[in-house]
């Protein structure tokens, strides 16, 4: 079994599902012969033809509107926004239609579509190519917001997203697209979209994160282990609908929670997790909840971006604060 990167896992999942389900099609800018600017759709047009791997005109509203129309008519479109920063013109179709077709028509119509986009900072890219803007979608009912953080989870969650009968926003942490390889069987096995993944067991503190920050968070857990602190690491993976139970179980055990994400702090999705803790786990907590996040500013251009993104040091420091607090 070959070892593949996260982005290769995306390609592998797309190819698998296109092969097994003729209603799956891919559309977006440069997804055809070019295989996407990150090569996520590499080889797909050659394999499945230009009627199933479609280069669209350059208009994200068009891509999103076509996607809704296709999905409502029995196709399973996988649409790409070239970068998360270009997803804004898709929002009207996502919020007003993709997320509503089913409820609007009492189930007569539905929108089994996936909206994929590379996501997040840290690749020294130009302006608008580095945002973490999952918050745009987490308050919109009817959607699933999914962020894989490993090749295996990218494969399994993308298969699940395509098969899901409802629309899924699938953000791909581009910073770790090629971070490492792992074996991912091309067996068509999907992963569940309603659970968080516990990546590491620990008893002293619960670290909750998603996307590329899983990297720093696991590194922080390593660093903490050297200090004799045992951190449990949870990859939320599917932000909405949220599996809070897994997080809650962990916090019951550890009494401490540090939430890590690269989006701006205020009203980022970390707030929801902290809020649930304030509602449901207040008697379990022995220390204040901490959030280690991007700042409430736009991510700067690349010379300063690493000072903006949560670092291992900032995570470790937050954990130490929660330990000092109790």
């Amino acid at each position: 079994m070959p070892q593949i990167t996260l982005i290769e896992a995306v390609t592998q999942a797309l190819a698998y599902e296109m092969k097994h389900d003729p209603s799956v099609i891919v559309l977006g800018e440069d997804v055809g012969i070019n295989g996407g600017v990150f090569r996520a759709t590499q080889g797909l047009q050659k394999a499945f033809g230009s009627e199933r791997v479609i280069d669209t005109p350059l208009d994200e509203a068009t891509i999103a509107g076509l996607t809704v129309g296709l999905a409502a008519q029995g196709m399973k479109p996988v649409a790409e926004a070239q970068f998360e920063g270009f997803i804004y013109p898709m929002m009207e179709h996502i919020a007003c239609h993709a997320a509503r077709l089913r409820t609007r028509t009492r189930g007569r119509m539905s929108c089994p579509a996936v909206f994929r986009a590379p996501w997040g900072g840290g690749i020294r890219a130009p302006e608008h190519h580095s945002e973490a803007n999952e918050h745009l979608f987490t308050n919109i009912p009817g959607l699933r917001v999914v962020l894989p953080s490993s090749p295996g989870r990218a494969y399994g969650l993308l298969l699940a997203a395509i098969r899901d009968p409802d629309p899924v926003i699938f953000f791909e942490p581009k910073r770790i697209y090629r971070q490492y390889k792992e074996e991912v069987a091309d067996d068509g096995e999907a992963l569940p979209l309603d659970v968080c993944f516990v990546l590491r067991d620990g008893g002293d503190v619960t670290l909750v994160t998603w996307g590329a920050q899983v990297k720093e968070t696991l590194e922080a857990a390593d660093a903490l282990a050297e200090q004799g602190i045992s951190a449990e690491v949870i990859d939320v993976a599917t932000l909405t609908p949220l599996d809070f139970d897994t997080i809650h179980e962990s916090v019951k055990k550890t009494g401490r929670c540090v939430i890590v994400h690269e989006a701006p702090r205020t009203a980022g999705f970390g707030a929801e997790i902290a809020a649930r803790l304030a509602e449901k786990a207040i008697y379990d907590l022995v220390a204040p909840v901490e959030r280690v996040t991007g700042y409430d500013t736009h991510i700067p251009l690349y010379r300063l971006e690493m000072k903006y993104l949560p670092s291992v040091e900032r995570i470790v420091a937050a954990v130490q604060r929660t330990l000092a607090a109790s």
């Binding site: 099609i25 009627e51 199933r52 479609i54 669209t56 005109p57 208009d59 509203a61 068009t62 999103a64 509107g65 076509l66 996607t67 809704v68 129309g69 296709l70 999905a71 409502a72 008519q73 029995g74 196709m75 479109p77 013109p89 009207e92 179709h93 007003c96 239609h97 089913r102 409820t103 609007r104 028509t105 009492r106 189930g107 007569r108 119509m109 539905s110 009912p141 009817g142 009968p165 409802d166 309603d194 609908p241 949220l242 599996d243 809070f244």
Partner: protein, 358 residues
């Protein structure tokens, strides 16, 4: 001087405001008296329904309602020219087209009456529901057309957008992609001269709305939207081309919104009476009636009988609407996803409990 491209926009009209033929090269439909009578009866039916719906709103029995008064020829032509397995993506006032496609007036009333079940209608299950976000339906129709193309189905997607809506990016996106991909898409701009209070002249500097199709390389045509024969001929042409793989088309149907924008609007605030009065002279039913009578295909008596018949039919629908009980509180939750997620199930249970409590 070198010329890169030239274009012309044709204007199509067969019947003038008085129901007199203005040209001889008539399409088949103009001589198909039996069908013309059928279509005229639909127009009358829609008008009877429409005034009843407005009355329901005025008496507090219906929410905000968008009247279709004056648009009947365009809408009936669209609905009657389509095949059942074509896909219709309406805006929010194309009742004539929808009734012909099987949507029941009671369903329409349910929708405006604040009940989602109206959109689970008896028309073709693949037809889109009413679409409030302006012009977005154009892209859904384009998506449907793309599905047909991918699956090699000889089906056509038809959508309607307003003069105002033709300013929105989605309209442009839809015609552009239809041109780029040769999609079987027919976009009808129902130019009723007003977008709520904003007149056609403030929407665009274009001389015709039909010419917007030039931007997308589509065939385009301006039609007298109050002339059922011209509208139907245009639709037949457009749908046939599209079905045979010759690509999309933009049709501008020139008509007039004789009503307020919706029952929440008061058009006297912004448009002059005499403009409305003049528009009544050009309205679609009058001329069609005159034409049919001139062919001895319709009589005053038939008109009266059919109107009474319509009123009775509409009453049945209205009663069915008024008797429809509200959905239970859990209906708020049950269609958000295919299955209620665990997280949401908790809220659902709480809402049911809270509802019982009150």
């Amino acid at each position: 001087m070198s010329i890169a491209a030239t274009f012309e926009i044709e204007y199509l009209q067969y019947l003038d405001a008085d129901g007199k033929l203005v040209r001889d090269d008539l399409p088949a439909i103009a001589r198909d008296v039996r069908q013309l009578v059928e279509l005229y009866k639909w127009m009358l039916y829609v008008r009877v329904f429409d005034s009843k719906a407005v009355a329901l709103q005025r008496t507090g029995k219906l929410g905000t309602y968008a009247s279709c008064l004056g648009h009947e020829a365009a809408h009936v032509a669209i609905g009657s020219a389509m095949q059942e397995d074509d896909v219709f993506a309406p805006m929010y006032r194309e009742y004539g087209a929808q009734f012909i496609r099987g949507v029941k007036p009671r369903e329409l009333l349910l929708y405006w009456g604040g009940d989602e079940r109206g959109s689970d209608f008896s028309g073709p299950a693949h037809d889109f529901a009413w679409c409030v976000p302006i012009a977005t339906q154009c892209l859904h129709a384009a998506g449907a057309a793309l599905a047909f193309k991918v699956r090699k189905e000889p089906r056509v997607a038809v959508t309607v957008v307003g003069d105002g809506g033709s300013s929105k990016g989605d309209f442009y996106g839809a015609i552009n992609v239809a041109g780029a991909m040769q999609l079987p898409l027919v976009v009808v701009i129902v130019n009723n001269q007003w977008a709520i209070s904003v007149p056609r002249s403030a929407q665009t500097g274009a001389k015709t709305l039909a010419q917007k199709g030039i931007a997308a390389g589509l065939e385009c045509l301006q039609v007298d939207g109050n002339d059922l024969i011209a509208m139907r001929a245009a639709m037949d042409h457009a749908i046939k081309r599209a079905r045979h793989g010759h690509g999309g088309m933009v049709i501008e149907a020139v008509t007039y919104r004789l009503s307020d924008h919706t029952t929440a609007d008061d058009a006297r605030r912004y448009r002059p009476d005499n403009e409305v009065k003049a528009a009544w002279q050009r309205e679609p039913l009058k001329r069609m009636k005159a034409y049919l009578m001139s062919l001895n295909a319709w009589t005053g008596k038939e008109e009266e009988d059919w109107k009474a018949d319509c009123a009775a039919r509409v009453d049945v629908e209205v009663n069915a609407y008024l008797e429809t009980k509200s959905q239970p509180v859990e209906a708020i939750f049950d269609f958000t996803y295919a299955q209620v997620p665990a997280d949401l199930a908790v809220q659902r249970a709480a809402a049911i409990a809270a509802d019982r409590h009150n």
